[in-house]
Symmetry: C2
Subunit: 181 residues, 2 copies
């Protein structure tokens, strides 16, 4: 039996330790901040990437998971939910959004994000190949817009067990330490 | 006399040639793809960054401008429109969005995006310090969401004088060469 609340998982393909370090970190932070529950990295194994994202979760809270998967193809084949590949070559995401939202009520969603060169099989294994516009921009922005729309344009505000919390300011910064977290 | 159509300009602060190369490129591509007409870089001068973004515009079309400005403070002081600084420490952007949209009908908008450490003066010089959620994510996603909402969730589809155009596909890639561009 499926759990009542379905999950959103992000699969980031083809990570390259040197070149993608910061972009991949931003992808992971976007996944967490916009409501995904997990990110899986493929490509080169990068312990420092995993650690830096875990550290963010320790400080800012939540249950966000991060892991590494060498065999992304097998992972995609075995994933039981809906596989959405974000690509500038795909169909406009707005044409499929309501359909996917409906499916997400009962099924988990995997959002697949490539890096420089995405293997052909990804397009075939995906249930949807969707474009956030057909212009070049960024996997970071594509993921953000898709998650934002998938979650009804709500951005999670509070995460459980956070050690730090920002108090929004008109000017300047205010950070609160949550001592009993 | 102001022109009828106001413009959106992005100011990217504190670019570091080595460390920010790719993130800054993504910021520029997001600015272009989501409807800004110009990006201005400050921080370290980076000719290759400027060139790589210009190349994208040559291929994919449009009138997107990119330039470098050493003195960002003076630039902000002299900017005649509305200055919106995106920061995780700011007020939730949704609380000010309709106000800014209204202002953007007659005034230019500058969206200011920092990198690692943003000087205090930026918060003071900005008319608005706005957060796309108060969790850490990315200047790339913050800019994308803000531009997306500012432009009524419309993503520009076609750019004039493009040499390449993508034909959206359910599976795979299709790129059209526009020979008479």
């Amino acid at each position: 039996m499926k759990s009542k609340t379905s999950q959103i998982v992000v699969l980031r393909l083809g990570h390259r330790k040197e070149r993608d370090k910061r972009i991949s970190t931003h992808v992971a932070l976007v996944a967490r901040a916009f409501g995904a529950s997990k990110i899986i990295f493929s490509g080169e194994y990068d312990k420092s990437l995993l650690k830096s994202v875990q550290k963010v979760t320790q400080i800012w809270g939540g249950e966000f998971e991060i892991s590494y998967e060498k065999n992304w193809k097998k992972w995609m084949q075995n994933f039981a939910g809906i596989k959405v590949h974000l690509t500038m070559y795909g169909v406009n995401f707005k044409e499929r959004l309501s359909e996917i939202k409906k499916l997400s009520e009962t099924k988990d969603i995997a959002i697949i994000i490539g890096s420089e060169k995405v293997p052909k099989e990804v397009y075939k294994l995906a249930d949807y190949n969707l474009a956030i516009g057909n212009q070049p921009h960024s996997e970071v922005s594509a993921l953000a817009i898709f998650l934002y729309e998938l979650n009804e344009r709500k951005i999670p505000e509070s995460f459980q067990n956070a050690k730090l919390k920002i108090i929004p300011q008109e000017k300047g910064k205010k950070i609160m330490k949550l001592l009993n977290a």
